[in-house]
Each structure stands twice: as structure tokens, then as C-alpha cells.
């Protein structure tokens, strides 16, 4: 404003010669050559067996395997989240029994490989042939064989869910610790007890810290479900290996499975983006635009360019 008034004309727009980046050109050339080599190999090497990838991609057992993979991912993740929140809150409890029990759980399940845990659940009937309900060391009311309860699905859920719970507890704990102490005091001064204080005040704020690693964990879980092969749960990799065992087309089928995993993780990545936006509420004045909003705005501004140019020149 002042400059305008004093100088009598608007400041001149800077039109500098842009800095050259020869390194980028060299890099581009190298990448293009490498890319061309890769494409050439992929398209000409018959051992990739692209036709077979296509044949089995939507075959019934594969699609069923995909469904089972998704089911296992979400249920195991749900178990992990519930256990994780529970153990994180327990871990931070002033009650030494609760925090000690949570510590022990996390220590054990985070300290042993998930693969070994899955194997264990698979052979649980060798350790505990029957499971019964009753009074400890006293009479038992219900007897069941472990094999009838711990089906491959349950074994996979237990192995993946309990393990995830231990990791997730640490993520939630970090989230809770990230919430300003003043929030606890404000809620306490209003007479809130610990449970509602956590649920309504602390956890929603912890979500901003918890959500990004949750997306990460879900994606990781989706891939880890492939370990459920060892408990003979017919998810995507199990079905793939089944077909491979029959047809000996190992490489095309592994490629096919990889494409499915990639497709599913991509969808999850997009979902994660929107969930993160939701929990960023109240933390910044304006959220950045979503890719779709950006695209829409770019299209509308493109259309408006002649207008704005004339109006700017006119004023």
C-alpha cells in the first residue's frame, strides 16, 4: 500500500533466469535407460507368464483368498486396536497391578516373533487338548476340545491380534503421552473421572498421533496375514500356493498375489489419508485440499484464466 502510494506504480514482477539443473537431466537419462531395460525384460521374458497372471487373477479360489485376507486383516486389526487401547490405558494407570499386567503382556507378545506365535496357536491342542470352563482348581462345567475352538481362523486371529495388541498399546501410549498435561487437569477440575476423561478428552486428541501409525500397522497387518499360511488358513497366499503346487506356475502366481497385495495396500493408503484429515480437526485453521479438491480447483481455475487475466489488467 505504502510503496504503491509513494512510488506511483506497482513494483515490477521479477523475471529472473531460472537456475539450471544439469544433474537432473543426467539422472533422468539414467533412470530412463534402466526403466527401458526393465520394461524390455518384463515384456519379452516368457517366464513372467503374464497370461497366467491374468488367468488366475479373478479365479474363484484367488478371489475367495482375497476376501479371507481382508477379513483376517480387519478382524485381527480390530482385536489389536481394542487390546492396544486397553493395555495402553492400563499401562498408564496409577494401579500397579493393572500397569504391571499390561507391561507383562506387551513384553511377552512384542518379544516373540509373530510367526512363532502363530505356530504355537496352531499346535495349541497338543499343549491343551481340552479347554473347560469352571471354578479354578475346582469342578468344571463345560468341556471342549481345543481343536474345535481353535480353528485355523481363530488361530490366525489370536496370533495376529494378540501380537498387534502389544505393538498397538505402545502406539496408543505414545499418543496419550503426547496430550498436554493441562488437558488432564482441566478435565479433572470439571469433576471427570478417569474413564470419561480418557474417552472424551484424551483419546480423541491422542488420535492425531495414533492415526498415522495405525494406517501403517493396518498395511503391515494386511501383508502379515500371509503368515497365516502356517495355520492353513485359506487366505490369498495359501490359495496362491495351492494353485502353484498344482500347476507349477510358481512365479506368475507369486506375481499375481503381489499385485493383489499392492492393490489392497494402495486402497488402504488412500483411506488413511482421509482418516488423518478427520482427526486433524481443530489443529489448524484450514485443512489442505484433498487430491480430488485440488484437481477440481485446478480445472476450474484453468477455465477462469482468461477472466482473471483481463480483470487484473483492467484494475
Amino acid at each position: 500500500m505504502i510503496a504503491d502510494g509513494e512510488m506511483g506504480h506497482p513494483p515490477e514482477e521479477i523475471r529472473a533466469v531460472p537456475l539450471r539443473h544439469p544433474g537432473r537431466w543426467v539422472g533422468t537419462a539414467v533412470l530412463l535407460v534402466l526403466g527401458a531395460m526393465l520394461v524390455h525384460d518384463i515384456t519379452t521374458n516368457p517366464r513372467f507368464g503374464w497370461g497366467i497372471v491374468g488367468t488366475y487373477f479373478f479365479s474363484t479360489p484367488v478371489v475367495q483368498g482375497v476376501e479371507k485376507t481382508l477379513e483376517l486383516t480387519f478382524v485381527a486389526m480390530a482385536i489389536g486396536v481394542i487390546l492396544g487401547v486397553l493395555f495402553a490405558v492400563m499401562r498408564l494407570s496409577p494401579n500397579p497391578i493393572l500397569s504391571g499386567a499390561a507391561w507383562l503382556y506387551i513384553w511377552f507378545f512384542r518379544g516373540t516373533p509373530v510367526y512363532v506365535q502363530l505356530l504355537f496357536w496352531y499346535v495349541i491342542s497338543a499343549l491343551q487338548p481340552t479347554i473347560s470352563l469352571g471354578i479354578p482348581f475346582g469342578p468344571e462345567f463345560v468341556h471342549m476340545s481345543a481343536n474345535s475352538i481353535v480353528t485355523p481362523f481363530v488361530a490366525a486371529l489370536l496370533g495376529l491380534g494378540l501380537n498387534e495388541g502389544a505393538y498397538y498399546a505402545e502406539i496408543v501410549r505414545a499418543g496419550i503421552l503426547s496430550v498436554d498435561h493441562g488437558q488432564f487437569e482441566a478435565a479433572q477440575s470439571l469433576g471427570m473421572r478417569r474413564a470419561p476423561l480418557m474417552r472424551r478428552i484424551v483419546l480423541p486428541q491422542a488420535m492425531r498421533v495414533i492415526v498415522p501409525p495405525t494406517g501403517n500397522e493396518t498395511i503391515s497387518m494386511l501383508k502379515t496375514t500371509s503368515l497365516a499360511v502356517v495355520v492353513t488358513y485359506p487366505e490369498l497366499l495359501y490359495q496362491t500356493e495351492n494353485i502353484a503346487a498344482r500347476t507349477y506356475e510358481t512365479i506368475p502366481l507369486y506375481i499375481m498375489a503381489s499385485f493383489w497385495y499392492l492393490l489392497m495396500t494402495t486402497v488402504l493408503t488412500i483411506g488413511q489419508y482421509y482418516v488423518e484429515r478427520y482427526y486433524a480437526r481443530g489443529t489448524s485453521y484450514a485443512l489442505p485440499l484433498t487430491p480430488i479438491q485440488k484437481l477440481r480447483r485446478n480445472l476450474t481455475t484453468l477455465r477462469r484464466v482468461p477472466f482473471s487475466a483481463t480483470s487484473a489488467g483492467g484494475s
Binding site: E185, Q188, L190, G191, G282, T283
Partner: protein, 250 residues
Amino acid sequence: MIRAEAVHKRYGLLEVLKGITLEVAPREVMCLLGPSGSGKSTFLRCINHLEKINSGRLYVDGSLVGYQERGGRLHELREREVCRRRTEIGMVFQRFNLFPHMTALENVVVAPVLVKKDSRAVATTRARSLLDRVGLSSKVDSYPNQLSGGQQQRVAIARALAMEPKLMLFDEPTSALDPELVGEVLDVMRGLAEEGMTMVVVTHEIGFAREVGDTLVFIDEGVVVEVGAPREVIANPQHERTKAFLSKVF
């Protein structure tokens, strides 16, 4: 309303309160003044049991804070009871501590609904009238980070009032505000005092203490140095430490 008898508070080896004895009558506005680190905020936090005292006795409305006396011994109160008593004491913090994930209205509604089990409709109606009273009826749907410091602190006062407390504690309510925003918060507090709210205010606002306060307490190094009517203490301090402090503040 409040009776403190030789209240001591230690953090490890550091003794923050070294025997505070004072009394606040119903409808009284008491201002606590003193250098930083003198223990005045700690004392305030003891009143609603955010801090546990180590010795002495502290009563609010006739009952012991945080404990129950039975058979000559003190028994710790259950969380339920501690929380019930806190609902009768409103507190306003230096850094506002609004819930950032909730709008101004939700900030005021949440505690009555969760703690007092008021219906959402009743709590919302009262929250709107409280926000109106602190001059923020146009900001009900704003999130805290869209509000100025003065507006946030007024929401925080409305949030505390929504529990219909008998007593309000203010912990340096204007210390984190830009100078031009201090007045709007003090105006709301003055209004509360005129309506007869019992208030304990830790503050550095000498003007507010003089005009609104019924009693001024000067605390230094964990002890009450001087108590009196604000005008007299400010105009004519009796103790060297009070004189030294006031000369620095003015």
C-alpha cells in the same frame, strides 16, 4: 467456604507451602499475590485436590479436601467422591486448557452431560446462555484455535460455570494474554464477583485486586506474609517483602 490450617506441601525435598493458614468466606473475592515460585498456584491446586497436601488441614465448605476423618484417622477418598467435590469448584487456568477438538459450545456442554448427567438439550441451552453472558454468542461454533486468547479464556470461564460451582479458582487467568485482551477477561470476572461468586484469584493484576478483591493475601516462599483489605495493603504494606514486591510490580 475455604479454611486452610497450616497447609504444607512438599515436592521431594522442596517445601513449597510452609504452613498456609487462611479463611475465605462465602461471596468473598480473595486475591493471592506474590512472586513466582512463592507457592500461590500450588495452594490453589490443593483446594481442588489436583495436588495432595502433606500436612495441615484444608476444608472446603466444611469438609476435608481429599480425605475423610473417621475414628481420629484420615482415610483417602475414593475417586468418585473426589470428583464429586471437584464439580463444586470451578477452575480457570493460565493457559486456558480448552479442549481443542471441541467447539466453544461443546467445551461448555461436555462436562455437565458427562459428569452431572444433564440432558444434552438442557446443557446446550445453558451453555449458550453462558457463552452469551461472557460475550461470545457469535463464537459458539468456533474451535479454540480460531479464538483469541481473551476469547478462549472467556470460554474457559463459561465451561467452569456450566458445572454451577459454589467456588471459582483462577490461576493467573490473564498472564498468558496480550495486554489489550486482559480487560475483557477481567470484566467477566468482575461481573461474577458482583453476582456474589466466591472467588480465589491468583493474579498479578494489582488494579483488579484493588477494585474487585475483598481480601488481598501476599504469599512469599510458601508462607502468608500479609493479609488485609486490598487498598490498605497496596497503599500501605506492613512488611518489607510486600513493599519490595509491590514496588517492582508497579
